[in-house]
């Protein structure tokens, strides 16, 4: 053999003992490391989650059980940025909370809304922005809420089992996302930050918005909207779908929208208020899909004019309901 000296030399019984001792020590050190990692992981994440539960962040606030609102707003980033709770409260006196966020699907909203009603009671009105029906049912950053919500945990295990398994290994992993970071930031400043766009859509963005795109709505997500509505109505809430403004160029470029919108009330059993074409001025948009601050002010006023936010007093909505 061309090799040099070896710990594993079969003529050296002492070498074998050395190997056994080394392996035993290695196993002890690795197990100590694993134990330390696991204990610390559980302790730090439990502490962090109990602190985050006090965060004013709208999603963590669900689980604090002290957030009863008149209006609950559901949807994706369009709901998040178009339904402004502060503006609604200022203009109507109704308290509101918004569970809309980018890429949120109806299936996830259903879990969050049911958690909200269970912990805080039912709102008077639920407004749903329906474009989240084409989002994939993913948990994503909402895995931050897994320690608080068996519903979100069940959805994670079903839709992203690898992340579900990772959460079994490390509880700290639940905090590894933007939602947890946002919870920390909101806790530190004692309030939630505004998420409404402040910029103005540029000419390049208008040009890009003209590129044709196809709506791919998922039937399973339409069914989730129906379940949200049914659950809300069982708990005494009124429900409406509100299609919020799209930039006119983007609206024209979205194939299938004109067929999708009229079919919604029939598919979900919920009335639709279509305001998608209610805003035409580019300077009220921050991009093709989102209004900016001035656009949101005008849109909220339109919601009030349409009677959407004066539910009981509004003949317009009453007739729809």
């Amino acid at each position: 053999m061309e090799h040099g000296s070896s710990t594993f030399n079969s003529n050296d019984p002492v070498g074998t003992t050395d190997v056994a001792t080394t392996l035993r020590r290695l196993a002890i050190i690795l197990l100590s490391g694993l134990l330390l990692f696991t204990l610390g992981d559980r302790a730090i994440s439990a502490l962090a989650q109990s602190i985050l539960k006090e965060s004013p962040n709208r999603f963590y606030a669900i689980y604090g059980g002290k957030q009863r609102h008149d209006v609950v707003l559901l949807g994706n980033s369009r709901a998040d940025q178009h339904f402004d709770p502060a503006t609604i409260t200022r203009l109507t006196g109704l308290s509101a909370t918004n569970f809309g966020l980018g890429l949120v699907s109806p299936t996830l909203s259903e879990a969050l809304f049911k958690d909200y009603v269970e912990k805080n009671g039912a709102p008077k009105l639920v407004l749903i922005e329906p474009t989240f029906a084409y989002n994939h049912p993913r948990v994503g950053q909402f895995r931050a809420l897994v320690p608080h919500s068996p519903r979100v945990k069940a959805m994670l295990d079903e839709t992203e089992p690898r992340y579900g398994a990772a959460l079994t290994v490390s509880h700290l992993f639940a905090l590894n996302n933007d939602l947890a970071m946002r919870g920390v930031v909101d806790l530190l400043r004692g309030r939630q930050g505004s998420r409404i766009g402040t910029g103005v859509m540029t000419a390049e963005m208008v040009e890009a918005a003209a590129k044709p795109r196809q709506l791919h709505v998922k039937d399973s997500e339409i069914a989730a909207i129906s379940r949200i509505a049914a659950f809300a109505q069982q708990n005494g809430s009124q429900v409406a779908l509100v299609m919020t403004p799209l930039h006119p160029v983007a609206r024209r470029a979205t194939n299938g929208l004109d067929a999708f919108l009229p079919s919604l009330p029939q598919k979900t059993g919920v009335p639709l208020i279509d305001l998608s074409a209610s805003e035409g001025a580019t300077h009220h948009f921050s991009d093709a899909n989102h209004l900016n601050r001035s656009g949101v002010e005008r849109f909220t006023e339109r919601l009030i004019e349409a009677g959407v936010l004066g539910v009981k007093a509004s003949p317009a909505l009453a007739s729809l309901l």
Binding site: H3, G4, S5, L172, D178
Partner: protein
Amino acid sequence: MLFNTIPFFVFAAIFFPVYFATRGSARITVLLISSYIFYGWWDWRFCFLLIWSTLLDFVVGRAMAASDDPVRRKILLILSLISNLGTLAVFKYFDFFSASFTSLLNSVGVEATPFLLNVILPVGISFYTFQTLSYTIDLYRRDLPAAEPSLLRFAAYVALFPQLVAGPIVRARTLLPQLAVDQRLDLARIGLGLQWVVWGFFLKLCLADNAAIFVDARFDRPELYDAPSLALATFLFSFQIYGDFAGYSLIAIGLGKIMGFDFGINFNKPYHATSFSNFWQRWHISLSSWIRDYIYIPLGGNRGGEWFTARNLTITMLLGGLWHGAAWTFVVWGLLHGAYLSLQRAAGVPAAAALRGIGVPRWLVTMLAGVVVYLLVCLAWIPFRAATLADAWEIVRVILTWETEGRVFGDNLLLLARVSLIALFVYLCDTLGLVRTVVRAYNSRWWLRLLGAVILLWGIALFGSFDGTRFIYFQF
């Protein structure tokens, strides 16, 4: 196979027990087969190039060692150079030079369409080509005392999986003697190796992959973003590439350490450099020392006037740039570093002396030099990362004119906060690593090292990005 994926963890869980349970030729066979599985995981066809390179250099090496005829030795060296560099030329550079030549013809009014091979670039080809080249060149120069007699061991040297695809480039004279010995199962070495592996994963998953989200968005569409956003993206790229490449190197070096091999260090706190030559003694050390020994010194090094040295530095760094990729962006990056090194030789010492002459304390001069080096290194990272020279120029222009009108910063403040925290932590750790008493105290207590590794693992769970992002240097 990527280090940051589940298949690699399964691979490692099978490999290490088998590796330590065998000895002698059986162990080298295990190492060789495992390395080919690791490499072939991307595309099994790449293995044939590796086999070709191994066989050729093994045969050339044996023939060269057996001959005292200088002409015959030179012919054998040229054969090795042509074969290795020819393979690199075909797979990596042919399309680039063909397209560039056609563009040149078109620009002078000659109609031509480029002849392109459109072949896939085999992963790690630049690394193992340089590694095997060092073997034949060292044999030719007689820096390596004898040719490797065992094909099995030589093949394992070329294909050794931890550093096969992205370095460090380990010379034959360093690694072959280590492969000739059955490395002991050493607890201290395993501990150190695991510590480096964990630190490498932290750099990759927490620093590099988080920074990549911010950086990629801005370098992919520079026309959308304002000056502060692009400037921050440039600084973050400096940390991304450090985290990515130093992270990979540390994982490779750590895995080698566990197996019993010393690959040397590849990064040594590069952003603490106070001169450009010092930067290249700290950044990608295995490549910079390779191009120093096999390109710069044979060109004449600094054994001539200032212009002669500047020429050699420029050629060396230009080739170093081209080694990274077949694109004009890498050429510009290399030329910039060549210019930095040349200017430093011409003006660095007089400038420092002038500052000290007007009463600026030595520590401040050193600090200022460090800041200037870092900023200029960042400036050079712009063409390195940009997709095209036009993009690179656009980014430089927007930053220098501080253009914000009609552009956006981009909505990534949470990500920015996260990356900044991690970058600060890494920088502080690197700085602490300069304090010998701290390093000695840390290294001498096993429980402290264990705690350090566990804290890094908590950090990975909290801040790691787990989307299996490729390592940047794989493309080279």
